[in-house]
Symmetry: C2
Subunit: 696 residues, 2 copies
């Protein structure tokens, strides 16, 4: 994929420049400086030679075929440059030039025009407004970055060119290597999905790393990420989240959802590790780049200092990984070998006077222990410590084992040369041990994702036609909000149980209805024009007998006529009164990038005050629905506290799945809540008491 971008045999640089400091010069210089073995054709009508290379006045003058064109001329001329590329039959273009969407309305128009043009001719384009790309395997540096990164197995793409320059600069002192390094700019054509696919296929890339501000198509993004992460880890830092302004929302779900929630859900569903900071991005990248995936969560700590050992054990306890319990054999061997003062349990304290050989013996013993999956070696530079030699020893052991080995050589000046040795030996070193623990945790988390089967969307049988025609009718009438009857029709079509309910137009009918349903009942005003029935006292619960039914029938209808004289009053609804059970909310709102975002939470204050909710992008399968339910903090309330019976969790799973189908089948539904969904004890199902649906 994108073969001509990553491994072109011939490159034309349209806008190559003689002037140092100009992008057209720096880019050409990068192309020639790092051992690229293809042919470079600088294009510039006003020059003969640049950097010793013959310059052509126009693409037309070149007889060779051109695999890749890099355009570095002002925005106004890019269109013309692309036209020349079309004429020449070039199928891959990088547009470095800025002055497009990012610069305002005019630029955006230019960008659209450009896009139409390349689409018409099946050309792929990277940029505009980007730094270019680097492929270390083919020694290709088609960027104006200030440096060439070392060769490595990290494939990196970034929506910010400036961030690329920082990261590149930083990678040099940290001995981090890249396979591919791509600045995606405005991503008019080639976007994150193309690159995820390309990096997934790229045999030189072991870890996919990215910086994103948004995605072009949420659904496609999730699908391609799910596929890629089953093969290799993907770590992404996503910014621009918290500033997403509040939008008017008519449902709880709409109020609580937001672009951040959608991204979190999408990343979770597609196995992407989300880095919260740039530092985390690289902490994670390094361990995946260098080390084997751990077989399990059990970590052994080996340290030459008590304090850091305790600090690290603390960090392990706060994480999802676990302190390993050594086998008796390990403990006995260590006890017989180590000085009496040493601690042979986890964390193993090899003492401040430990030289490389003591570290070596202990690490080798621990590697043999089947109760250990990961080893973190901590070293403080004490007077006797053989810093470099210990680094060598660890590298050598790591080479022989498939267990995950990580170090925390804690220091600066005296440990610097050891840092380099460790990097060369592919041992990720973290100056601060807590960061080592968090990187190991991320790795363990990824192994769990890899083992998990891909989500399966179960089919359900629904008579969609009723809903289709209802929604069609409402859209034609311009009614964005469904009334109670319509909502009931939709949700019962999708298999939700709803309370029994009978419309009564007179006191006598009301009493008859109540007797059919069974006391106590709920009485509600029935009017297509009144949405917020309880706000004016249009709902009475716990109505006990015929005389009460008659009384409230009168009360409510009279009140409605008095307060809302224009509303059409159909009578009252006599409803089954649901008692017992636990209230949950399920809902959906549409995210501009990811589409239908499902929400689940416990009703009332858990949602309103504690905001204890969880999200997924629909459609989802029952495993994911189960995860949602288990994820909220108040989940123990559903399992039952103080000897209560557990709530019917399979019924909630079923409800979420039905909701998922509903909002996937009908993209016209833009927002909805079922609130509350009352869940009865295990085996007794759930019932949707109230719901709201808005359509577009």
């Amino acid at each position: 994929m994108l073969e001509h971008f990553f491994s072109p045999k011939t490159i034309a640089v349209i806008g190559a420049s003689r002037e140092e400091g100009k992008v057209g010069h720096d880019l050409l210089k990068n192309l020639v400086s790092y051992g690229y073995t293809g042919t470079i054709y600088p294009i510039n009508p006003k020059a003969d030679t640049i950097l010793g290379i013959k310059v052509y006045a126009s693409l037309k003058d070149i007889r060779d075929t051109i695999d890749l064109a890099v355009i570095v001329i002002p925005a106004a001329f890019v269109k013309h440059g692309v036209d020349e590329c079309i004429e020449k039959g070039i199928d891959s273009i990088i547009v470095i030039s800025s002055g497009f969407k990012e610069s305002g309305i005019d630029g955006a128009a230019k960008e659209r025009e450009l896009y139409q043009k390349i689409k018409q001719h099946s050309i792929r384009m990277l940029g505009p407004n980007c730094l270019g790309l680097i492929n270390t395997q083919s020694s290709l540096n088609a960027s104006f970055a200030a440096d060439m990164p070392a060769e490595g197995n990290i494939g990196f793409f970034s929506q910010s060119g400036a961030l690329c320059t920082s990261i590149l600069d930083w990678s040099i002192i940290e001995y981090i290597g890249f396979s591919k390094f791509i600045s995606i700019g405005n991503k008019t054509d080639i976007d994150e999905v193309d690159l995820i696919k390309a990096l997934e296929e790229d045999t030189y890339t072991r870890v996919i790393l990215g910086y994103l501000e948004g995605v072009k198509n949420g659904t496609v993004f999730i699908a391609s990420a799910q596929k890629a992460t089953k093969k290799k880890p993907m770590i992404i830092i996503k910014s621009g989240g918290t500033t997403a302004g509040a939008k008017a929302a008519s449902s709880h779900t709409g109020t609580l959802a937001g672009s951040e929630r959608a991204f979190d859900a999408a990343f979770k569903q597609s196995g992407i590790l989300r880095a919260n900071t740039i530092e985390e991005l690289f902490d994670y990248a390094r361990i995946f780049s260098y080390q084997h995936l751990p077989k399990g969560p059990r970590i052994a700590l080996i340290t030459n200092a008590g304090g850091p050992g305790i600090i690290t054990a603390d960090a392990v306890e706060r994480s999802k990984i676990k302190m390993a319990a050594f086998s008796r054999n390990t403990i006995e061997t260590l006890r017989s070998f180590l000085p009496e003062m040493a601690n042979v349990y986890n964390p193993i304290d090899v003492l401040g006077d430990a030289k490389a050989d003591r570290y070596k013996f202990v690490i080798e013993e621990v590697v043999k222990d089947t109760n250990v999956d990961v080893i973190l070696v901590i070293l403080t530079p004490q007077t006797m410590t053989e810093i470099e030699k210990t680094a060598e020893v660890i590298g050598e052991i790591s080479h022989r084992t498939d267990k995950t080995i990580v170090t925390s050589f804690m220091g600066g000046k005296r440990t610097e040369s050891a840092f380099k040795i460790l990097a060369q030996k592919k041992i990720p070193n973290y100056v601060f041990p807590e960061r080592a623990v968090s990187a190991i945790e991320a790795m363990y988390h990824y192994t769990l994702w890899q083992k998990k089967p891909l989500p399966k969307i179960e089919e359900i049988q629904i008579q969609k036609e009723n809903v289709s025609s209802l929604i069609k009718k409402l859209r034609q009438a311009g009614h964005p909000q469904l009334n109670e009857e319509e909502v009931k029709e939709v949700i019962s079509t999708y298999g939700f149980r709803i309370p029994k309910s009978i419309l009564a137009t007179s006191e006598i009918e009301a009493v008859k209805a109540a007797e059919e349903i069974g006391y106590p009942v709920v009485i509600k005003i029935s009017s297509p024009d009144i949405l917020h029935k309880s706000d004016f006292g249009g709902v009475v619960i716990g109505v006990q007998d015929p005389s009460e039914v008659r009384k409230y029938f009168r009360d409510i209808t009279q009140k409605a006529r008095r307060l809302m004289p224009d509303a059409e009053i159909k009578g009252v609804l006599v409803q089954q009164m649901v008692t017992g059970g636990k209230e949950v909310i399920i809902g959906m709102s549409r995210d501009p990038q990811f589409g239908p975002l499902l929400m689940f939470g416990l009703g009332g204050i858990y949602i309103e005050v504690l905001k204890d909710v969880t999200f997924r992008v629909a459609p989802i399968g029952s495993d994911e629905a189960k995860e949602m339910i288990q994820e909220i903090r108040s989940f123990p309330l559903l399992k039952g506290v103080r000897g209560e019976k557990p709530a019917d969790i399979p019924a909630i799973v079923d409800s979420i799945i039905r909701l998922s189908h509903m909002v996937t089948d009908f993209p016209e539904i833009v927002e909805m809540d079922i609130n509350p969904l009352v869940v009865f004890p295990e085996g007794n199902g759930a019932i949707a008491i109230d719901a709201r649906i808005s359509i577009s």
Copy 2:
């Protein structure tokens, strides 16, 4: 304070050694190598000269007075060495030697003996089992560390000697300077409190930094830290928290408390900034060491790259600091000066081609804006960027303003020399901008603490005698758990309202009691031998009329006689039934280090499931009690949701204060809960429905 430790005129090194690599040699070498101007007396019966200095066979041979003795001989001989010091009249000793408490029972005995000896002669001792100490102001390096740190204003003490060596090594490449650097070892005599006091008084120390595994005396620690933090910031990393094993606890408070909670509370109460990682410790230290405290939370971001600007703005939004809104004047000036493409709002984007002069102009404008308290300058090393010159410019501006200026030069190789310039100019630089934001937030947090008045403990009038004699009686009888009547007596003495309650020994008495109290009532078995009354059905709530009273009187007393034949049955308690209000829990458990730890939380699932509780070390004043209440996540429930009236928060404050007095007055109370304390709407007070008290 500790004058002879930090600025001795004469030092004796008992155990000075000729042999390189030996601690007695390295320490002596450190003393002579860094410009110490006092006199050094090496003591070693087997040598004449070491490092060119005359060696004495014994302290007795020295005619000069000795201010400080440093002992570096094996543990077995330390006692003898101290005896010689006593004879010589030395009042300050550092014991470097290990082999004491940390090595087992024998060592611990040696340590106790040592302690008694020095106490008898009013000698102060640092160590044993420590690295020594460094005072950069007097060029004194009385340690066996591998280096001498740069002079600076950070006073650091550490309970881990090995951590000292790492930090020292790391500080060199990070250009971090120290005023004092102290390894406290086993802290047999000189402990964290002595050092906090010394560093508070030390004019060269601007920031106090520490690594602790525990404190010797919690109360004294809090008091001295409260005093010190009003003068200077104190940042501490505390380890060994999460491993504190579970202890048997008979109350909710006991179950939820723990050494971590106690430390968190103590740090909060004494204004200590708790660093969660070593990295944070130094991130915070640097900003306090270099910069002015901000006048407020409003931050301006200035960046030459969009992506990092967004990432940083995200981090600001997640923190307690705020994005500044610039004055119209600033915006207009920036607009007229900056290129059209630049963003003149916060974050200001000076664009990728910004040179030092553009940064300068913008920073100077922003410094003038009265809506800005803190400025964070972000720089990515792009092709045109003048990295070093920009660093110089920022340093120069910072010199002229009292606003807080911080940088995030994001890079590695090309930014390295700028890192050094920034450090020299006292600009804290953070390679990752999120860390800059978190350091600024810590600084802002500290300014809030500094402004806050010290807690005032209000007095309350209590007739303590009843409680004293009751507790005395129970302790003599060996009853650790108070029964219901006793609990009531204690809490009502301390001013808690309790439900009206009358003991009835017959059906007739019960009916009379119920009528006096008013229906509905609660009926409970009354027996000093039955603690868990409701477990066997000994409590009936909502008893409505005389016939029910008679029925339940019979039921309950018969059941009790049948199920607990050995219990003394006094009759039943007829109690006022409390309805409405919100349930909260207040309680206390004793922490081994800090003593009485108060807890507050909402009752029921909020505590049991969500563990939404907060702690303080008693005694506390009403401001702190208010903070506790506002701190829990479910606080909005007390303020009232959905148009509810707010709960009577002053009544909760009053209850917490009364509890605080109770547990301070009676150290015999080891654990207690008032659960639930029912709080009525504002103005209607609170009532303690049930409580448990355990005494020692």
